[in-house]
Symmetry: C2
Subunit: 341 residues, 2 copies
């Protein structure tokens, strides 16, 4: 079904149909005829051909590292909110933390094309920088600092420092604080958060002892393995601070599993077992991100609330400003945090 066919059937020119579709001048009479034909055929204009002409898609692409994450869904919720209120649609591309795929989806969006791109929380490689510098469509980066694009990021260092103090206060006498971090390629979560954490500990007169640090992926499973390794190898772990709440969930699982292994005689339903385990566990876990699911089922651990939804909102606004008003002045925006104990 093309605009031409519709035009023929309605006995008008294709331009008239186009105008009808886009609110230009059409006499009421022709409007009627066109409407009739469109209703009858169920015609839908090709968005793509339109885009080829107009260079506008009313569409923005969002690249995310994974789909199943509360923090990311909060960001996208914020983005979607402002986008849909301003007549834009949002397309998501999930990269599964694969930098190669990330670039590939960025290019897809660029050449698709969309009007703008939001890139969220990930490691920024040379290829990324290259893309940001050369991209034909405006990009804003959310969750990481970069000087190659408008960006919105969180005060990860400050949050880490605050949590460091909390951990120091939580640790038992002759106990140790342990930390499960992520790759330092991630400047926000891997570097700022951990460095802040160490600074916070230090300011409270504590520190991360040798051997009490682990690296983890951004998954629960990886957090589980890291925590279990910690528990098996190091004595007197009193606090396990994790770089994300997801990792913290894995750590909690590990503590449950470890205690269960130590006390194999306890049996019965999992409720009973869990009671017993918790009763005899004095290890505290902390996280970052204020995951609501975790809070709900565990009653909550010390964590940090970041304004993820806000960063999505601001990010989308920034992007639309450059798309619609051609705003040129680069912007860096740093968002604060809130300690949740």
């Amino acid at each position: 079904m093309t605009i031409k066919e519709i035009a023929q059937m309605a006995g008008v020119s294709s331009a008239a149909v186009s105008r009808y579709l886009n609110g230009g001048y059409v006499s009421d009479e022709k409007k009627e005829q066109i409407k009739k034909v469109i209703d009858a055929t169920g015609y839908q204009p090709s968005a793509q051909a339109r885009m080829l002409r107009t260079k506008r898609a009313c569409l923005v692409g969002v690249v995310v590292p994974k789909i199943n994450s509360e923090s990311i869904s909060r960001v996208t919720a914020g983005i979607e909110q402002v986008l849909s209120s301003r007549g834009y649609q949002m397309l998501l591309a999930s990269t599964d933390n694969d930098p190669h795929k990330e670039i590939s989806y960025l290019k897809l969006f660029e050449s698709y094309p969309v009007d703008g791109i939001i890139l969220t929380g990930t490691v920024i490689t040379g290829e990324h920088r290259k893309f940001l510098k050369e991209s034909k469509v405006p990009v804003v980066v959310v969750g990481q600092y970069t000087k190659y694009a408008n960006c919105i990021y969180h005060d990860d260092y400050g949050a880490g420092k605050a949590m460091g103090k909390v951990a120091a206060a939580l640790v038992k006498e002759d106990g140790h604080v342990a930390y499960i971090g992520v790759t330092r390629d991630d400047k926000a979560v891997g570097v700022a958060r951990e460095d802040g954490f160490r600074a916070g500990l230090k300011s409270a007169g504590a520190e991360l002892a040798e051997g009490y640090v682990r690296k983890s992926e951004f998954t629960m499973d990886s957090g589980y393995r890291a925590a279990l390794d910690l528990l098996e190898k190091e004595r007197d772990v009193s606090v396990i601070s994790c770089a994300t709440d997801t990792i913290a969930a894995g750590a909690i699982e590990a503590i449950l599993a470890y205690r269960k292994a130590q006390i194999p005689s306890v049996s019965g339903n999992s409720g009973t077992r869990m009671q017993y385990i918790l009763e005899n566990s004095d290890i505290r876990v902390t996280g970052f991100g204020d995951n609501q699911f975790l809070k709900a089922v565990t009653g909550g651990i010390p964590t940090v609330h970041f304004g993820y939804k806000t960063s999505g909102i601001r990010g989308a606004e920034l992007l639309l400003d450059v798309i619609e008003r051609g705003e040129q002045i680069p912007i860096e925006m740093k968002l604060g945090f809130q300690l949740v104990e």
Copy 2:
């Protein structure tokens, strides 16, 4: 940057460049020149203009009701796996459970266009059926049964029935089984799962008593409110079975909160409080979906494992079969389940 400019700069025709890009006949000499110019300019062909010509995008659109869900992310992981292995990319559209948005994104994908669409788990309205019937691009539906498109769905009735038996076995003498379901507009989760559950109870000589049923949205928060209402209004609730693990997480939160309210004198850190609460709580919660996060931090509740990733894989394969091989025969596929206790 257009193909024309590249052609000029390389001193060849645009057709030669096109052939170079798509692996047609080009002399080695011209290949060199073209390559040089492309490398120098960083030229990227417009995917859109190509699509306008070729009608192929190597792209499939996936419509999901929400982003932050383990089950959905498992489906998309399966889809992405087969797609990327066959040279396709995947675009996601999240509709936030809004049927209107769902249609709007379906239409976007249709006219964008993508080569195929996967629609996952949602209520299917008349508008949906209309779209499925008239869509120019192939669609497969995952997670719901429909006769208007190829579909892959799960044995929700069987799973419900199995869980009904589990609940019947769990319930204490003179205790009651309660059920928190979802809208019956959702034929899979709202109807099949609940009807199966009732059948399972019945076959074990139990039933859902008047007043022990609630409706919830697909969110933890909504599950929390439903469960709290249940606890406040009904005596002797012994088992709370929930239509999804997410709702179950909310129910667990509600039980914690309810007990806490009953025993306000208990204080101290949340660990202590939680111990006490669990010790004195004899209410069991069950779910559906085998959420790993929930399992990790609680030690696990009775639930059902569906082959979500498998359904994603099969769905994508089905779709590619019709895209690439023009497979015409309609397919309905029903996937089994596994009880997790």
